[in-house]
């Protein structure tokens, strides 16, 4: 019996293994095969300076990170600007008119075994009339597979390698701030600065956003480096901590970039330049806990002010009020009427408690005749 169970267990393990072994993991990608050791950016993108009418050669490495053999399409496209000014690559179906057209790959389709890579040489031929400044394109790496009709949004994936080309000539590197918007969410502030590249090469800009109190204290700040593409308006959404106590705050940003004529990845003789962006005054609603605390403090202040007022009135009355001997048939109301004050005030100032009974010849404090003649009736 024990042997039978062991045998069944072994069969179960063997049957279970293929499912785990064939579950696909990983994806396909690529990288420059011959990065320039003096430029770290060339590990992930192609950076070239090409004179008009000349050609350069390079190699792209296509990597299959999966555990199965893949047929991979490799193709060049122009770059496009994505929403918010981000870098993106055109689709193959869009065709190419610029850098995508300048690139010629030695292979457009390659079979790569599991966990292996393939190197594909290519050339970039800059036309004789290429405009000075930066031009961008992409080398795209995408698995080739047939898709069946499925209702809804069907997703495909690709890794693209940016190809940044500098056509020598007049290089203008400049960005200008364009605006700042702030959107308050329940748990954060989304601070969105925007800058425009008014030059003809891209700029890697350190964008710093700051939220300060009206007294200048920094509540939160973030700095990140983003590329601002040639001639493009670019904006980013910084999700920043929301001030706990709420109230009025100033949000602002600045951008720092290398104003030298260095191209991408060249860090020699940098000329840092900082430009200040807009500042916006914003009202931030407090968090629920802060609101409750602030409400309690507010109520406390109001109550405290009321009692302080009463104390000050009492203190004044003690100094100015005169003695009055209670006559037969007097009560608080009749005396208060004569003195033109509220009977409750008279009772309180003389510490007379309910049922507010006065004794004949009892001495109490009253405002006096002068007050009774001149003043309208004082309410409680």
């Amino acid at each position: 019996m024990r042997n039978v169970l062991a045998g069944l267990l072994a069969i179960g393990i063997v049957l279970a293994m293929p499912a785990a072994a064939f579950a696909e993991s990983g994806s396909i990608g690529g990288r420059p095969a011959q990065p320039d050791p003096s430029n770290s950016r060339t590990k992930s993108i192609f950076v070239k300076t090409i004179a008009p009418g000349t050609t350069v050669n390079d190699v792209v490495e296509v990597v299959n990170n999966t555990n199965v053999k893949k047929t991979i399409a490799v193709y060049a496209t122009d770059s496009v600007v994505s929403s918010g000014g981000a870098f993106a690559c055109a689709q193959m179906a869009d065709g190419s008119n610029n850098v995508g057209k300048w690139i010629t790959l030695s292979q457009s389709l390659v079979e790569v075994a599991a966990y292996e890579s393939a190197k594909i040489p290519f050339t970039i031929a800059a036309p004789a009339n290429a405009e000075p400044g930066e031009q961008n394109g992409c080398i795209n790496i995408q698995e080739q597979k047939n898709t069946e009709f499925q209702s809804g949004v069907a997703l495909s994936f690709r890794t693209a390698i940016r190809v940044a080309i500098l056509i020598p000539g007049d290089v203008k590197k400049e960005i200008t701030p364009q605006g700042l918007t702030i959107v308050e969410k329940s748990d954060k502030l989304v601070v969105s600065p925007s800058v425009k590249n008014t030059g003809n090469v891209s700029v890697d800009a350190d964008i710093t956003t700051v939220v300060r109190s009206l007294f200048g204290t920094v509540q939160s700040t973030q700095t990140s480096t983003f590329p601002v593409l040639r001639s493009e308006l670019t904006n980013w959404n910084f999700e920043m901590g929301k001030p706990f106590w709420g109230g009025l705050y100033n949000a602002s940003f600045n951008a720092t970039y290398d104003a030298s004529t260095n191209f991408i990845g060249d860090t020699t003789n940098k000329q840092p330049k900082t430009i200040d962006g807009q500042t916006r005054l914003i009202f931030v609603t407090p968090s629920l806990v802060a609101f409750l605390i602030e409400f309690i403090i507010f109520v406390g202040i109001i109550v405290g002010a009321y009692f302080l007022y009463r104390y000050l009135v009492h203190k004044k009355n003690v100094k100015t009020w005169v003695d009055y001997k209670v006559k037969p048939n007097d009560n608080l109301e009749t005396i208060a009427d004569k003195q033109a004050i509220a009977w409750k005030l008279l009772a309180r100032e003389n510490s007379i408690k309910a049922p507010y009974i006065l004794q004949s010849d009892q001495i109490i404090k009253v405002p006096g005749k002068a007050h009774a003649k001149k003043q309208p009736k004082i309410k409680e």
């Binding site: 696909e24 993991s25 990170n65 809804g152 949004v153 069907a154 997703l155 690709r158 890794t159």
Partner: protein, 225 residues
């Protein structure tokens, strides 16, 4: 004395031999074993909660019924079982962007199975309700809202610091042909794995669109900056 000297010399020889053997033994222990782990590549795909790649991911929008009027249907890209992943295993050291565009390009359409019926995804005319001046004769507009999504860092040593989600954007032919989902700054983690869920989708469907099942192919592209 001679006997003592002989014994001493013999002892030294034995000791020397023992020491030399020991030296040989240590040399064997000092053999170097080297292994190089090269950086991988920047990739994006859809994986399930167990991080297994989903071969043909599809995201349905809410079903609607035929209407004579323009209508809007919504959905999301990314769920707990279909997570939109980006892996950067040290391959992009100055940040990256993750974008979404129609595979068929700016002239793409939502098509039924036989491509006999279709409507547009990037016509901004009257917010997608009617056909405009673009190349096709179809109305319809798709809006992608990554700002509503959730971004998760899925490794022990990475964070989402320096990664910003794109703003809501509607496809508009020749104006917005690509929607930015993520922008990772140069200061973001060079080695990291992240995923997005709940990217909002909203599609305007023109009035009198025939009832059928429609599909559109979108391509997610990850590009090093």
């Amino acid at each position: 004395m001679k006997k003592f000297t002989t014994v001493a010399v013999a002892s030294l020889v034995v000791l020397g031999a023992a020491l030399s053997m020991a030296t040989v033994s240590y040399a064997a222990n000092n053999t170097n074993v080297t292994q190089t782990i090269s950086s991988g590549t920047l990739v994006t795909d859809i994986r399930d909660a167990g991080r297994v790649t989903v071969a043909s991911p599809t995201f349905a929008l809410a079903g609607t019924t035929f209407s004579f009027n323009c209508q809007t249907t919504t959905g999301t890209i990314g769920s707990d079982s279909q997570r939109l992943y980006v892996d950067n295993p040290g391959a992009a050291n100055a940040g990256y962007t993750l974008t979404l565009a129609a595979t068929a390009g700016a002239t793409g359409l939502w098509n039924n199975a036989g491509s006999t019926q279709s409507f547009d995804f990037n016509d901004p005319t009257t917010a997608g309700c009617t056909d405009g001046a673009d190349a096709d004769a179809k109305g319809g507009q798709l809006t992608v809202n990554p700002a509503a999504s959730t971004l998760i860092a899925d490794c022990s040593s990475c964070t989402i610091t320096g990664i910003t989600k794109g703003a809501s954007s509607a496809f508009s032919q020749g104006v917005t042909d690509s929607a930015t989902l993520l922008t990772a700054a140069a200061g973001s983690d060079d080695v990291g794995r992240w995923y997005l869920t709940g990217i909002g989708l909203s599609q305007t469907i023109p009035g009198e669109q025939p009832n059928d099942s429609y599909t559109i192919n979108l391509t997610a592209t990850v590009t090093a900056s």
